[in-house]
């Protein structure tokens, strides 16, 4: 298998309601990605596209619909989707196009326009649940995340005040991200006083629904070294799915993330993740999820994530910065594009080009992770400069 590097990246601004059509959003991100590494569309050999269910945009076969905005005019094209995990599955999908030797360059695009869905995009999740045994109870996605958060809290005795620090950290980090939808200075009290959605989840514990797109360019080693002085290598990939019978799982620990991360660490030759990973972007659609995933990624021992947060380890200036971009909580959560935004953040950080978000200490090894579906999928990418 050949070595594959990320050589360019682009992203749009994330908004709750954007005027642009999905095609136009995809075009903006893709054009920026191509311009960033001075490549033309004719240099791209294949396109890989991650985008969430058709039910959000209300466009059937929306991947194909978007494809001309993703540069896929008369090119080999594949679409993939694993819920929120899509954004990190996207570079993995692109990676094996190039690593296999079949293509030398690949454009990876992730786009989401959730604002088209009425009465609210959350309603499109009604049919994620089993249609016969769960849907008649009219569940909503917020319930199951709150259910998982509750199990997580009662297993380890975590308190809401501590978990709320994740929102404070990420929203503050997002003030430095140009695409951010919800960067802000807030306090733990703001989080605890915000509207209760489904206890234990308050409004400021959740990332927003967003419209946005992101894109990266992948290249095989011989092309990458010509195109840029600082290629960022994809050294480890992993992805895993857990059962859809989610009531059967013990929700306090994300086994699927552990399985995916073991795959990625093995491939990258990493034996002690908590020491060898310098910077991480775990998926954080909810505050507790960042902690849940840090434990699943074995960046700390089980039950140790809150202490890590309280000790300041996950701040930008700490030993293992987590979500320096501002994450989904701060930048926004257009389902598929969020994960790719995280991959982009590690890309920029490892190149030293993250502007005001740059973490000190010249990190050389970073990790991006995403999660989705019915709390089932874990996707992990390990990158090195």
């Amino acid at each position: 298998m050949r070595r594959v590097a990320i050589v360019g990246a682009g992203i749009t601004k994330f908004y709750r309601n954007a005027m642009e059509t999905p095609k136009e959003l995809a075009y903006e991100a893709t054009k920026m990605a191509l311009d960033s590494c001075e490549m033309k569309l004719s240099d791209i050999e294949c396109v890989v596209h991650g985008t969430a269910p058709d039910a959000f945009d209300g466009i059937h076969m929306k991947g194909e619909y978007l494809s001309d905005g993703s540069g896929a005019y008369r090119k080999p094209y594949m679409r993939h989707y694993v819920g929120g995990g899509t954004g990190v599955l996207s570079p993995i999908h692109g990676w094996f196009h190039v690593a296999s030797g079949m293509f030398d360059t690949c454009l990876v695009v992730a786009e989401e326009k959730m604002s088209s869905a009425y009465p609210h995009p959350a309603g499109a999740f009604l049919t994620i649940f089993d249609h016969t045994t769960e849907q008649p109870l009219y569940p909503t996605l917020i319930w199951i995340f709150a259910i998982e958060m509750n199990r997580f809290m009662t297993t380890w005795g975590y308190k809401k005040e501590d978990i709320a620090l994740v929102a404070v950290k990420n929203k503050r980090n997002a003030l430095d991200h140009p695409s951010a939808q919800l960067g802000a200075e807030i306090t733990v009290k703001d989080v605890l006083d915000s509207e209760i959605m489904a206890w234990p989840v308050n409004r400021l514990d959740i990332s927003p629904t967003s419209d946005g797109a992101a894109a990266i360019v992948l290249a095989a080693e011989h092309v990458a070294r010509r195109v840029t002085e600082k290629p960022i290598w994809i050294d480890g990939v992993g992805w895993a799915l857990d059962t859809a019978y989610w009531c059967t799982r013990d929700l306090y620990y994300p086994d699927y993330v552990e399985v995916a991360s073991r795959q990625a660490y093995k491939m990258a030759g990493i034996k002690e993740p908590s020491k060898e990973i310098h910077i991480a972007e775990p998926y954080d659609p909810f505050t507790y999820k960042e902690l849940h995933h840090i434990e699943g990624l074995q960046l700390c021992k089980r039950g140790g994530s809150v202490q890590m947060l309280l000790d300041g380890v996950t701040q930008r200036t700490g030993n293992l910065p987590c979500c320096p971009s501002g994450g989904a909580l701060g930048v926004g959560n257009p389902i598929a594009a969020t994960g790719l935004m995280k991959v982009m953040e590690i890309f920029l950080q490892l190149r030293g080009e993250a502007g005001n978000r740059q973490v000190p200490g010249r990190p050389t090894c970073g990790l991006a992770q995403a999660w989705g579906d019915l709390m089932q999928v874990g996707t992990v990418v390990v990158m090195r400069s």
């Binding site: 059509t21 136009e24 075009y27 569309l41 009425y118 009465p119 849907q135």
Partner: protein
């Protein structure tokens, strides 16, 4: 705008169980092949439901220009100089070379040529129409862009590929800024 489950809608399937003559449950711990082989009439074989969503699609940046000009009775396209291609409806980018086309909106006129056509007897839900309608892919003259629309004021037998047509608009006060502001295309003399 929200479609809620309605008890008055007719059931999608008319049966509660498959015909008799199949095997029983396999209660005694026998291994059963995965293909269904059951059927007591007490089984509930299907579950009805819906995806109760509705959508509002914004027309986008190019769409705002294109559809607002339809209200004025004009059709807009955008031109890519590098590829020598004019796109109709207007797009903000060239899909071949990815150039940005936002500075090149052109009035491409309302005349076109029938590229291909057909006559429809059923609606998209499969219900028979009272009168069949002619739908056509019309290439806008002087461009590489196409509009899909109805053909009117012509009999189906008289339509041919290459027939010159022009757009017939609704009266200006009825135009809303969507593709139906054009009523149909009719043959030019």
């Amino acid at each position: 705008m929200i479609v809620t489950p309605s008890p008055t809608l007719p059931p999608l399937r008319g049966r509660e169980s498959l015909p008799a003559g199949r095997q029983g449950w396999g209660d005694g711990g026998e291994t059963m092949a995965l293909i269904e082989r059951f059927q007591k009439t007490t089984d509930i074989t299907y579950w009805e439901g819906q995806i109760p969503m509705s959508y509002i699609y914004t027309v986008g940046r190019a769409g705002e220009k294109f559809f607002r000009e339809l209200i004025n009775g004009k059709v807009l396209g955008t031109k890519c100089d590098a590829c020598n291609t004019i796109y109709v409806p207007a797009k903000i980018f060239c899909e071949k070379c990815f150039a940005r086309l936002e500075d090149h909106y052109l009035d491409v006129g309302t005349k076109g040529t029938v590229h291909t056509f057909t006559e429809c007897y059923e609606t998209y839900e499969g219900i028979r129409k009272e009168k069949p309608s002619i739908v056509s892919v019309i290439q806008i003259d002087g461009t590489q862009g196409y509009l899909v629309h109805w053909l009117g004021e012509v009999d189906f037998e008289k339509v041919y590929i290459g027939m010159p047509v022009e757009a017939v608009f609704k009266p200006k006060k009825d135009r809303e800024g969507n593709i139906l502001d054009i009523k149909y295309f009719k043959p030019t003399k």
